[in-house]
Structure formats: structure tokens, C-alpha cells
């Protein structure tokens, strides 16, 4: 279990002065959990990962791993391993030597190392590649070596820093499944950093959405998607309509959010409509039709209607409908 308690990190640079990368962040990551830190670049997610790994020290607050305060513990004294964004495979060593590196440092016996390296190579499906050099492997294969190297010493936590960002789309999808499988099979806590919300939704048990050094919301992917607690989360995860409360006649509500797929579009004279507008663009994408609708104050709404076959045309007046349970009122 990783407990992050009121952790702040302030960087001092010569040209910009001080930068607060993390502000009073608290969260708990459970054992055997696939936990994701999700946010745009510069939100502090990588800094938090590096703090857990021991590559940075917190300015304030404390981090506990399995109940032990890790303040002052260098990376090589933490039972935590990292998969780096650039993989950081040792270019002067073979794949086997790369995977054995951590085990040698932990002074495993030669025989145990041999067995473990073989086991890891088969776990990441790279049997027969042991004697090659890192440069001779493709990006996806290097990624799997990095995983094998980090998992070999049986860490209690595996940290993954944007591990899939260097792969092309098809490989990335494959590796998502692969990572999920590895996490299940090894039972090790995975902490993943990503800016890709689809990746986060697909793999995580729980997600922490971060922005500007703060954790905005923590929860299961479904909860965060269905029940965002602020505009940033609603907008960052999937697509969201953000409608000013005043426009719906609710003066005390700041913003109402609805997912485009929960919105339906009716003819301009339909009764019991939420709000009226004008279609500005229609995009037919096969199963669904996307409507871009302009409301009377200029706010834009998007609707994703299943099987609609483009009933309405651009410039046509329409009404917009959604069920009560599809909307969320947001304070900020």
C-alpha cells in the first residue's frame, strides 16, 4: 500500500523562479491495484511518480510504502521498480544481462538469476531474444524488456511512466491488454502515468485525475466517467457538453454537464424539450450521427445519436432532450 500524505513539491529554477509541481496531494494506492495518474502534461503526475520512486524528495508531506516512511531512502533502497518512458535499457548489455541487472545487485545466486531471467523472458513472450542487444529490438519489444527488467526483482510496486507513448496505435492497444495481463498474473501494484484518457479508462482499477499540481478526483473509471466532480474532469475524460445553468433556467447552478451519447435530438416543435437550438453541422460516422448544435446564447452542444441516419440538416431548428439521470450539476 502506498500512502501519499499532504505532499508538495516545489522546484527552484534559475530562470523561472519557483514552480509548484505538486500542491498538498494526498492519496492511497491499495495492494494489487492498477492505479493511474491521469492528466495533461505539466499537471505533476510524473513528479508524483518520481517521488514514489525516490528520484525526487518531497518539499513537504510524507510518503509511506507498506507502512514505512520512505523519506531519505534512495531509489536503490526501495522495493519499487520503474519502467521509464524511454525504456532506458542498458545499451552495453544484452537483453538477458539487462533483465539480470537488478537481481545481480540484490546478490541473487547465479542459478536463481538464470531461472528468473528465463521466466521473465517467457512472461513477456521474448524467448530466444536473450542474447540480442537492445538496439536490435523493435520499440514494442524494447518495451517488454523494460517491463521484464523491472518486474524481475519482484518489487512491491511497479511504476510506469507513459510506457506506451512511444508506440504506434496498434501496438499500444496490444500492450494495454498485455499490461493488464501482467498486472493480474504478477499481483504487483501498478502505478501508471498517462495523459491518454482512453488508456486510463481501459486499464485502471482506479484513476486519479490531476491538473496543475492538484488531484481533482479519484475513483473507478466508470464513476469518473459517469460522475465527474468538476468541469475539468468532465471535459478531460471523454467528451462532455458543459452548459451554463442559467441557460436551463437554473440560476443557482453553475454548469450542467451531459455526455453527447446521452443527448437526443428532436424536431423544432417537439414538446417537453430541455432546450432549443439550431443544427450547425451534421457528421455521419456509420453507427452514429454527430450533431453540432448552437444554443441561443452561442453555447455549442454535441449530440451523438445512434442509428439516426442524419434525420436533421444543417441550419434546421431542433430541440434537445436528455433524461434526468444523464446530467450532473457542477459547481466549478
Amino acid at each position: 500500500m502506498i500512502e501519499v500524505r499532504h505532499v508538495s513539491k516545489v522546484f527552484t529554477t534559475m530562470d523561472i523562479g519557483t514552480v509548484t509541481a505538486l500542491a498538498e496531494v494526498s492519496l492511497t494506492i491499495n495492494d494489487n491495484e492498477f492505479f493511474t495518474l491521469l492528466g495533461p502534461s505539466g499537471c505533476g503526475k510524473t513528479t508524483l511518480l518520481r517521488l514514489i520512486g525516490g528520484f525526487e524528495t518531497p518539499s513537504t508531506g510524507e510518503i509511506r510504502i507498506d507502512g514505512v516512511d520512505v523519506a531519505g531512502l534512495p531509489p536503490h533502497k526501495r522495493r519499487v521498480n520503474t519502467v521509464f518512458q524511454s525504456y532506458a535499457l542498458f545499451p552495453h548489455l544484452t537483453i538477458t544481462q539487462n533483465i539480470a541487472f537488478g537481481l545481480e545487485m540484490l546478490k541473487w545466486s547465479k542459478a536463481d538469476i538464470d531461472v528468473r531471467v528465463k521466466e521473465m523472458l517467457s512472461l513477456v513472450r521474448l524467448e530466444g531474444y536473450g542474447e540480442r542487444n537492445a538496439a536490435q529490438l523493435s520499440g514494442g519489444q524494447q518495451q517488454r524488456v523494460a517491463l521484464a527488467r523491472a518486474l524481475a526483482p519482484r518489487p512491491s510496486v511497479l511504476l510506469l511512466d507513459e510506457p506506451l507513448s512511444a508506440l504506434d496505435l496498434k501496438l499500444r492497444k496490444g500492450m494495454q491488454v498485455e499490461l493488464k495481463r501482467l498486472q493480474r498474473e504478477t499481483g504487483i501494484t501498478f502505478v501508471l502515468v498517462t495523459h491518454d484518457q482512453e488508456e486510463a479508462l481501459a486499464m485502471s482499477d482506479r484513476i486519479a485525475v490531476m491538473s496543475a499540481g492538484h488531484v481533482l478526483q479519484i475513483g473507478r473509471p466508470e464513476d469518473i466517467y459517469d460522475d465527474p466532480n468538476c468541469c475539468f474532469v468532465a471535459d478531460f475524460i471523454g467528451e462532455a457538453n458543459l452548459i451554463p445553468g442559467a441557460l436551463l433556467g437554473r440560476a443557482n447552478v453553475n454548469i450542467v454537464t451531459i455526455r453527447p451519447e446521452r443527448v437526443t435530438v428532436g424536431p423544432g416543435d417537439a414538446p417537453a424539450a430541455r432546450i432549443a437550438g439550431t443544427v450547425s453541422e451534421v457528421t455521419f460516422i456509420g453507427p452514429d450521427t454527430l450533431y453540432d448544435i448552437g444554443l441561443k446564447d452561442g453555447t455549442r452542444m454535441r449530440a451523438r445519436v445512434r442509428g439516426d441516419r442524419g434525420r436533421f440538416r444543417a441550419e434546421e431548428p431542433v430541440t434537445v432532450h436528455w433524461p434526468d439521470e444523464a446530467e450532473r450539476e457542477l459547481a466549478s
Partner: protein, 291 residues
């Protein structure tokens, strides 16, 4: 077409090396098999006399006596060149690593400092050490004024002062190639090693050292070869009392006027260096090094 262009482009370099290196080397090789005449030149016929002189001294009656005098000079030169290389490595590797770890603007400044000695003539720089080390020099005068010593310390005109001068001259040649090798190393590798339970010493031994090695080999070659034949530091800082092979060669071509023997010594030094190069390139793939 491509082949022609390649030839055209390497022609100046090939010409330069042939005219100013290969031809003089050939001349030295030929001279080393000739005999010095009484006018300071060389004459035929071809003999091994110059090489025999390396190991044997001619007695008054003309018989040859085995002598280790020159061998000893050669050995001392090799030992000094090796010591210079090792000391330059001991100083140069930490310096290069330190520079690599700095910010980009600081790196530029520090590299500038490393190359600054090249702006001043080597002779003048070496002579400055005489002013610092001699009996009335900076160190001895300061220590005497402080009352730490009565008689001046013998800092100048010994092996130590020669070594100091050589190391001082050659340190940049170790720093620069190691820097250029380490500069291309991903710093995440260091973090990855730390992450995989390696302490500071293990990170150095298992990651930094192997990755710096091509630069170390390049630096060692750049230093060992000229250090072996150098005569400036030995002459000025060694006082010319204890001969080294560089000074010995220089002497044969000037005061001793024995060009044949000088050439034989020069061929020997060149052969030693080439042999070292071949052995080290076999072992370390020098071809991969970019300086």
C-alpha cells in the same frame, strides 16, 4: 560517380598525410639503416649499426659490450607515459562526468575552461611551471615566508616535476573525448540503474565506466603516443639531467649529430605506438569512437 567523389574528397587528407607523415617516416626508416658521417649527414652502405647501438656500447678496442643505458631510458619513458595516461584518466574522468551533469550553459562555460590552455603556447605554459616550482619560485618562497620551511623543497628537476608537466599538458585530451562519449549517454540509464538496486559505486562500475570506455580509450591513445615522445616537459622540468627518449632523439639530431641513431630511436618509438594502437583497437573497437 560516388566512388569518384569519395576519392576526390579524401585526396587532400591523403596527400597531406603522405607528404608530411609517411615520407618523413620513410626517410627516418632509411636513415636508421645508414651510418653517420663526419659532416653530420648520413652515408651508406646499409647496416644495423644504429640498432646495435641501442643495446651495445663500443669499447675502446672496438669490441661491443652489452649496455642497458638506452634500454633504461626507453623503459623510463614508457613508465612516465603510462603514469601520465593513468593520472590524466584519474583526473579527466571525474571532471568530464561533472561537466556532463551540469546545465547546458554551464557545460559550455566549463568546456571553455578546459580548452583554455590551448590558447597559450605550450612552451610558455611549461616554462611557467619552472617559475612556480624552482627554489626561488612561488611555492618555495611562499612556504619560506610563512616559516614552514628553511631550505627550499626540491620540487623541480625530478621525475615528479616531469610527470606534473606532462599531466598538466595532456589532461584536456582525456577530458574532451570522455565528455563527448558521456554526453550522449541517456541520464535515465543512471536512474534506471539506481532503480534496480545499484548504489553509487555499482552505478559507476556497471554503467558509467562501460559507457565511458570508448572515450577513455581514445583519450589514452591521444595522450600515450605524444607523452612517450615528448621532450619539452622533460627538458624544461627535468632539467635535461635524466634523459627521456624524446630528449634523446632530439639530441641525436642537434648536438650529437648522429642522425642514423636518432632515426633508429624514432622508428622504435613509432613502432611502439603503432603496436599499442593495434593491440588496443583489437580489444576495444576504436573505430566506433567519435571524438
Amino acid at each position: 560517380m560516388n566512388m569518384k567523389r569519395t576519392l576526390f574528397l579524401i585526396l587532400p587528407a591523403v596527400l597531406f598525410i603522405s607528404v608530411f607523415m609517411l615520407i618523413p617516416l620513410m626517410i627516418a626508416l632509411v636513415y636508421s639503416f645508414m651510418t653517420s658521417d663526419s659532416y653530420g649527414g648520413v652515408t651508406g652502405p646499409a647496416t644495423f649499426d644504429a640498432y646495435i647501438q641501442l643495446l651495445y656500447q663500443q669499447d675502446f678496442d672496438g669490441s661491443l659490450i652489452f649496455s642497458t643505458d638506452y634500454l633504461f631510458i626507453i623503459l623510463r619513458s614508457v613508465v612516465l607515459a603510462v603514469a601520465t595516461t593513468v593520472l590524466c584518466l584519474a583526473i579527466g574522468l571525474p571532471v568530464a562526468w561533472h561537466i556532463v551533469c551540469q546545465s547546458a550553459s554551464r557545460r559550455k562555460f566549463l568546456l571553455f575552461l578546459v580548452t583554455m590552455p590551448f590558447w597559450i603556447n605550450t612552451l610558455i605554459r611549461t616554462y611557467c611551471w619552472v617559475l612556480i616550482l624552482r627554489d626561488q619560485g612561488l611555492i618555495n618562497m611562499t612556504l619560506r615566508n610563512l616559516g614552514a620551511i628553511v631550505d627550499p623543497l626540491p620540487l623541480l628537476y625530478n621525475d615528479g616535476s616531469i610527470l606534473l608537466g606532462l599531466v598538466y599538458t595532456f589532461v584536456p585530451f582525456m577530458v574532451l573525448p570522455i565528455y563527448s562519449t558521456l554526453e550522449r549517454v541517456d541520464t535515465r540509464l543512471i536512474e534506471a540503474a539506481h532503480d534496480l538496486y545499484a548504489g553509487r559505486w555499482q552505478v559507476f562500475r556497471r554503467v558509467i565506466w562501460p559507457l565511458a570506455k570508448p572515450g577513455v580509450v581514445a583519450g589514452a591513445i591521444l595522450i600515450f603516443a605524444p607523452a612517450l615522445g615528448s621532450f619539452l616537459a622533460p627538458d624544461l622540468l627535468g632539467g635535461g639531467k635524466k634523459l627521456l627518449i624524446g630528449s634523446l632523439i632530439q639530441m641525436q639530431f642537434t648536438s650529437s649529430r648522429n642522425w642514423a641513431f636518432g632515426s633508429a630511436l624514432a622508428v622504435l618509438v613509432t613502432a611502439t605506438v603503432i603496436l599499442t594502437l593495434i593491440v588496443s583497437s583489437r580489444r576495444n573497437k576504436v573505430g566506433e569512437v567519435r571524438i
